[in-house]
């Protein structure tokens, strides 16, 4: 089984670190993984994306032309990646950042109001973990225990006290995601 995933949004939304935690979770699950960022002058406000591949086999190309799953956090990213989802694939978007309707009819579309929830519950620091929770609910590619192990591995030790808050955010995301 292989999951080819693109996560895209504004710089500063935690796109790259969400991908990193997913990659670490895959590592803990014993999978082959690759994490390929769009690197460069992306800062808060610019666009950022990361390609994450989790697989039971050796990963060939870290660069892909189409994806099984797209996690989209702003409109420019939807415009760019909607056409690059494989037929039958999955699109997850955050309702806050998307104002034009999704056109594709041959994919499963899910909406997660992660930004609204994060602001409402004062969980804005863990916004990306709410999104990750939604992703894992829709496509349970790694077990929650391995995500927590992955979090531990990817966060510096001084931030380990934040793990429970991240876990709560992941569980919140699992609750609030819904199919469109």
């Amino acid at each position: 089984m292989t999951h080819e995933i693109i996560i895209a949004g504004f710089g500063g939304q935690g796109v790259l670190s969400m991908g990193k935690i997913l990659a670490y979770s895959g590592l803990m699950e014993g999978k082959e993984v690759s994490w390929m960022p769009s690197y460069g002058p992306e800062q808060r406000g610019g666009t950022a994306n990361v390609t994450v591949i989790l697989s039971d086999e050796r990963v060939s190309s870290p660069v892909l032309n189409e994806f099984d799953i797209a996690v989209i956090l702003n409109q420019p990213s939807l415009d760019k990646f909607e056409s690059k989802i494989k037929p039958g694939g999955i699109l997850i978007y955050d309702g806050y950042g998307i104002h034009k309707p999704v056109k594709r009819k041959d994919i499963s579309v899910y909406r997660i109001d992660a930004m609204d929830t994060a602001m409402e519950l004062k969980m804005d620091k863990t916004f990306n973990m709410i999104v990750l929770g939604g992703l894992l609910k829709v496509a349970p590619m790694v077990k929650l225990e391995n995500v927590l192990k992955g979090l531990k591995k990817s966060l510096p030790e001084r931030h380990h006290k934040l793990i429970p808050a991240n876990e709560a955010a992941i569980k919140k995301g699992m609750e609030i995601i819904r199919q469109v």
Binding site: A23, L27, V33, M36, Y39, S61, P62, L64, N65
Partner: protein, 359 residues
């Protein structure tokens, strides 16, 4: 004991591997997309553990000349940069080839020419394998296509550099430098002691004993008759390297009707293009040069008699394709496909190019 698996960027893997392979000194200057090498070394503080020197020089030119000095004493020293920075180092690299000094240079290529972009490219192939600096010299050029090879080739690069007293270079690019994958880091090798260095490097200028003549490290020789002899000696060494050190990987080549030839990150993207091709019943294989110099000409020539065509897939305007064509010598059609200036091709673009150019 089971091996410890890490998830690292290619650049980070190089830094960790340098510490573990007992490197004595790293001299560099930051530039995207390879700054994590210096950053990781600084975070790891190897000067506290192995005694390795890590120094941010005032410029790329200073860094390569620090490498010249360190290498002259027989130490394992290295530098890293990205394309524009490596251009600045060319004088020092030519001097090191002329003075027969072993060292490791890392180039994590970005789009050029000039200051160019910071995105991935493979447009420094010519610079790496055809000279770069002045004079008749060669670099032992290794092209990693995974994070694991980024780590492993630090060890291999130093091994070959010291075996032949010649600079070695790791030619990577922004993809391999920035991506994270699983890697098993090498075990810790202690840095060599002074007496080990004296024994292994009898040519080094590391403090003369009365029992031997002074060792002189220089690329300067004003007598052309002597300089010709020096050059003849270099060429003999290069011929030996060509005979003994060619490395390549053949992937699904046995039954292939068409061959992709690609190195580094391009070879990874080609593997996916091959999956697409084979799913459509087109038998495509991949020949991946691991040493760009010495180039695996013999195996390329061998496959020229077996396949219907070859496509050299590079993130440049067509550089390695010249070496492929030289090896093939007109036996079969050889075409090039590339993207330029920091744009990376996708697997389906490669398959499309194959069908358009060779079918």
């Amino acid at each position: 004991m089971s091996e410890e698996i890490s998830l690292l960027k290619g650049n980070e893997a190089i830094a960790h591997a340098a510490i573990r392979y007992g490197v004595d000194g790293y001299f560099g200057y930051p530039i995207t997309p390879q700054s994590e090498i210096l950053e990781t070394l600084t975070l790891e503080r190897p000067w506290d553990t192995t005694g390795m020197v890590v120094l941010q020089a005032e410029s790329e030119v200073a860094a390569i000349n620090m490498v010249y000095g360190g290498a002259g004493t027989g130490k394992r020293v290295m530098t890293s940069s990205s394309s524009p920075g490596v251009s600045l180092k060319q004088e020092g690299i030519s001097y090191m080839a002329g003075a027969e000094l072993p060292c490791l240079i890392v180039n994590v290529m970005r789009g050029g020419p000039g200051l160019g972009t910071i995105q991935p490219s493979q447009a420094d192939y010519f610079q790496t394998v055809k000279g770069g600096g002045h004079g008749d010299y060669r670099l032992i050029a290794l092209a990693p296509s995974s994070v694991q090879e980024m780590a492993d080739f630090v060890g291999l690069g130093f091994e070959l550099a010291f075996k032949y007293r010649n600079p070695a270079i790791i030619l990577a690019d922004g993809i391999i430098g920035q991506m994270m994958e699983k890697v098993v880091l090498p075990p810790f090798h202690p840095r060599r002691t002074e007496s080990q260095i004296i024994e292994e490097c009898p040519w080094a200028a590391n403090g003369r004993k009365k029992s031997r003549k002074p060792n002189i490290i220089t690329s300067l020789e004003l007598d052309p008759a002597v300089m010709e002899q020096n050059n003849i000696r270099f060429q003999k060494k290069y011929e030996e390297i060509k005979k003994k050190e060619v490395r390549y990987e053949a992937y699904l080549c046995d039954d292939a009707d068409y061959l992709l030839v690609a190195f580094g990150s391009s070879a990874r993207i080609c593997q996916k293009a091959i999956e697409i091709a084979r799913a459509q019943g087109v038998k495509v294989g991949l020949l991946r040069p691991i040493t760009l110099w010495p180039f695996p000409s013999e195996i390329v020539a061998e496959y020229a008699g077996k396949v219907k065509g070859m496509l050299s897939v590079e993130l440049n305007a067509g550089q390695m394709v010249e070496d492929v064509r030289l090896a093939v010598n007109g036996k079969v059609k050889v075409e090039h496909f590339g993207r330029l200036g920091g744009i990376v091709f996708t697997p389906d673009e490669i398959f499309k190019a194959l069908t358009e150019k060779l079918f």
